[in-house]
Symmetry: C2
Subunit: 491 residues, 2 copies
């Protein structure tokens, strides 16, 4: 037993180190790498992925892992580690090497074509490499599936334990209750921000101010710029995030900072004892997104928050802030406006974009829909859910990188994150005697403390459902999110 556990720990530690190294290579690719390095970087990442896979399926671990799995006296933290590592190992073992290679080639090719064709919106040309991706993902889903719904096998990569059968009614419910709010929200007046210059350098400095203010620890992190904001951790004690800046409007960057700091503070809250183990992780993408969305939408989009940071804004942007009311910035941060593009969507319309994608990708993986049908089905739903029609497929069905990359089953986790965030915000509201009041008073350590206790400190010890039920005191439901969004829509 001692021997088996020691071997297991070394094995997990090696996998964590290789994964962390790959994570740093990815971070650097987006933040520091010169253009000349891209081909070499792709090969380095490919090599690390191969090494990771080879280590994950190492045959000499069959015996020790069987011993640990059969052992029923393991303490819960060890038992969970064994469960998580075995799950990853079995998924890797079930994926034939040829399929991994075919998928990698097909998605590389499809992403390349997507980059070229998205601006033109030429779906017919895009469809050819994309059909191959869909075909291989269907094959993967059938190969890895252990139930009747192949889509679940893909979903499981991002949201372990989630089932399409449970998500279908959730999205139907959301769709029905959110659609009427869109019109209400969009009818609110929204005078444009006056034209001002918000210097990039001051926005980056503000990013650090705000992140530290809400509780992000810079001595275990770094803030950088990238084309698309993201959070990345090469390993315990080092959790970094990026933002982007628009010198004509600071609101996007501020919301991105709150969002990414939410992700980053989650990872900074994992216990030190979980370093280099499978427990140093969120149990799912949805759980991760609950943290980013909580700080972005339930803290960062409140009037209390904008009032709280007004002095900071005057300090960093003395010219742009002159004579500008905090209310104008808050209005900008909470405006509702149906649009074609998901990543620019407001809080109210956002989940309708996801509902649309979930319905289509589920049908696609089930074989109820073919690639050629996508543009028509997409546009029909856009009109139905949001009342708008994209001018072309580039602004419609081809807008996201997820499908060309083969990420089917990923989109629903965004909405799961929003649902959990709203439920957590309700629980925090109760616990803190009013979340808005806590924000207004700058009691950020208390807010973060709530999340640390309820969510962060358990790392990946509990599955998402169990974790969130305990943290919120309620089962998964759309009620909290819809109530919150009704407030946003009515202003």
């Amino acid at each position: 037993m001692t021997d088996a556990w020691q071997l297991f720990e070394e094995w997990s530690g090696t996998l964590a180190a290789v994964g962390g190294a790959a994570g740093l290579l990815g971070w650097d690719r987006e933040t520091g790498m010169p253009p000349g390095g891209s081909e070499t970087r792709a090969r380095q990442l490919g090599t690390l992925a191969t090494i990771h896979h080879r280590e994950l399926v190492r045959p000499d671990l069959d015996g020790p892992l069987a011993e640990l799995e059969a052992h029923d006296g393991l303490p819960p933290e060890r038992a969970r580690q064994v469960e998580l590592m075995l799950r990853a190992r079995r998924r890797a073992q079930r994926m034939p090497v040829s399929l991994v290679r075919d998928l990698s080639e097909a998605t590389s090719r499809c992403v390349g074509m997507w980059i070229e064709l998205r601006p033109t919106g030429d779906f017919a040309a895009f469809a050819e490499p994309f059909r191959r991706v869909v075909e291989l993902k269907r094959l993967q889903a059938r190969t890895v599936a252990d139930g009747v719904e192949p889509y679940d096998a893909l979903l499981d990569d991002y949201e372990p334990g989630a089932r399409a059968a449970e998500l279908v009614p959730v999205f139907a419910d959301l769709r029905e209750r959110l659609t009427p709010l869109v019109e209400i929200g969009a009818s609110r007046p929204r005078p444009p921000l006056p034209r001002r210059q918000w210097p990039a350098e001051a926005q980056v400095a503000l990013a650090r101010d705000l992140a530290e203010m809400v509780g992000y620890d810079l001595s275990g992190g770094a803030v950088a710029l990238s084309a698309h904001p993201f959070t990345s951790s090469p390993g315990y004690g080092d959790v970094r995030f990026t933002t982007r800046v628009d010198e004509a409007n600071p609101v996007g960057s501020i919301m991105a900072v709150l969002h990414e700091a939410g992700h980053a503070m989650y990872e900074q809250g994992f216990p030190a004892a979980y370093a280099r183990t499978a427990l140093l992780d969120a149990p799912s993408m949805g759980a991760h997104e609950s943290q980013s969305r909580f700080w972005e939408n339930h803290v960062g989009r409140t009037r209390a928050f904008w009032e709280r940071i007004t002095p900071l804004l005057h300090g960093r942007f003395p010219d742009a802030m002159r004579g500008l009311e905090t209310a104008a910035l808050h209005r900008e941060a909470t405006a509702v406006e149906p649009s074609y593009i998901r990543v620019e969507a407001d809080e109210v319309t956002y989940n309708l974009h996801i509902a649309l994608r979930f319905e289509l990708e589920l049908a696609l993986m089930r074989g109820d829909l073919e690639v050629g049908d996508l543009p028509g089905e997409w546009n029909t739903r856009m009109r139905e859910f949001l009342g708008v029609t994209p001018p072309d497929d580039g602004a419609g069905v081809m807008q996201d990188i997820h499908w060309p990359e083969g990420l089917f089953g990923y989109f629903p986790t965004y909405t799961l994150g929003n649902l959990y965030a709203a439920q957590l915000a309700e629980a925090a509201d109760t616990h803190l005697g009013g979340l808005d009041a806590a924000v207004a008073d700058g009691r950020f350590p208390e807010i973060l403390g709530f999340m640390r206790d309820r969510v962060h400190h358990s790392g990946n010890l509990l599955p998402t459902g169990e974790l969130m039920r305990a943290a919120t005191g309620t089962p998964l439901s759309a009620d909290a999110l819809v109530a919150h969004l009704r407030g946003v829509a009515t202003g």
Copy 2:
């Protein structure tokens, strides 16, 4: 054959990718990593080193490698790759795993103690962990050695093919001819720079200006700040360097930029066809240092250079440069002054610092000297070579990190680099019709072109001796360096 070669290429490619990933982790540790990440980073680097070692000695390659080694019709570029990879493999195979582990532990411990004890200069306390390092390095030298001089086995790690027997007379000769120059140089008047403020940000901007001016390609690189300047390449197409800044004096940073840009341009000049092979490298540390020293000392410390960059300096430092003569900066860059500290030494005294270290480490590895004798022997030589006595062992025998890190055999490569640089400068002078004139005219592409043709383009195709003989037209000798330093000393 085709199969063996294909396997060989994959194997070298994997090793290059793992090495490149480790390189990036090292770069990031010095330039971007927050303090919280250091423990995890150490483990990641340890894991990658283990993976690299395991891959290097993979037993299933014995057959294919024997086949390739026996094949006498391989084109020279392939034959050299096989030779280089086999040399690395055999060195790795000769190192018992227990010795690798013991050395890693002993040097980690010794470096930790060194960091703590160097400021106090407590050699007695330092000697205890250091004795263990020396003992293990002696063991390594005996284990790996294939000749009568165990020191050569260590030297070979940094300067393949070099032999102590050849270096001893070179250093004796240098010592004899340089010692008299020290006094001459130190007697030159050197009025201090007036007190001015040289803003850090402008120094970093100037670093990019200067690097681009001499031919460094920023689209395949990056410039950052770190405590000690260094150059690092995570792989083909991506060669980065750092500098450090002192706001009271810009000369150190400018010299560091020329030095590191020299290293970086060397790597940027390797042929694209050598990417991901053992040929994408310098044949030795001495060859690498020849490039940094050439740009630093034979370009960057000339009066022509300082006159050439005067307009750039006025542009970046309008206040500090007001009323300042270029000659004052040039005098600062070429001042000669005996001191205790190698990394602060001028061109003339520098190689005497190295001669001292070479003599001591050779005697130490031969067993002719024991750890306890080091401080006395050090101080005797300091007086003899440079006429100064360090105030304590922290400023004396304990000043460098190399020995605590176990890097015996490394120091001589600095002087070899200086010797080659001076010989290359003489060859460039002839080829360009005067190197100074080329610098004065800003004909940097011609200077770089000379180095590209003579040195960079061969990567690691030729051993250093052969490469340098062809590039300079003369065998290794101290004449060029001594002539150059006589010029520096007499001003």
